[in-house]
Amino acid sequence: MNDHVVQKLKSRFGEGTFEFHEFRGELTAVVPLDQIVEVCRFLKEDPDLHFDLLADLCGIDMYTPVKRFGVIYNLYSLKSKHRIRLKTFTEEEDPKVPTVSTVWSTANWHERETFDMFGIVFVGHPDLRRMYMPEDFEHYPLRKDFPLMGIPGSLPLPKK
């Protein structure tokens, strides 16, 4: 099945577009940033592949000078019971990734969570507000340069 998915993706988007990795039967495809929505829509809407469930969407901080932030999409097909993982990367300055909430509406909250924790802006998201942290919080807690115990004074407590 993995080979079949790889073949389909290659024939639709061209040979050199993706970087594929396979580890213990798990297929990962690194997708160029500008094609991520198109690829997701193809994977979902192709009747043969039919990855209709976005199992998870999360962020990653590689802490490298280039391509620091990434977004990972775990897809599942209820029809063929197959899984694939997509990755896409963006830069530290002004991290922006197009939203896939137009493809799977469940991505809405997942993207809000990723925005809250990593500060990755999902372009075209209908309601990009913070999920866990207070609205006026200025930092992104899951970034590698955020201290574990937080930044003193950034989260006010009630007066005693």
């Binding site: 942290m133 574990l148 930044i151 407590l157 009630p158 005693k160």
Partner: protein, 179 residues
Amino acid sequence: MGLESALGDSFLTTKLEDAINWCRKNSLFPMPMGISCCAIEMMAFAGPKFDVSRFGSEVFRFSPRQSDVMIVAGTTTYKMAHVVRKIYDQMPDPKWVIAMGACTSSGGMYRTYSVVQGIDQFIPVDVYVAGCPPRPDNLINALMTLQQKVQRGESRGSSTAIIGGHQSNEPHPLPVIAG
């Protein structure tokens, strides 16, 4: 009450504050501030097996206006701290606070940016309960400890409001109604 049979026609003398504090300590209404897993044990504490009604404290009031001890049971995040404080401020004086569990008392295993490392950073706590979660018996023990404090007329949060209470020099927060 059975007191008549023991005393017959005679009578008892006591101080008014002692009598009032005795009434108070045996009719504490808890405000269940159940925020996470500890709250399950707090429910067991009120349920028939551990049966805290033996100590006159079975009536959990879900309205802060009607309760006098707040049991903070669970991981208090910075975001939740404002809610806890607001509910505490809505409780009438005199009032007490039990910090139940490691998280509430000290942040517990959540040594992280989002969890308040001990609720005594924003409300006065009378009794701390160790454990993760503490057994319901442990919470009953905390309640009994609190009852001793009530009988002595002590409260960290509202010392001046108690009849015969010890005046402490600590600044005492004025009740703020609904923020």
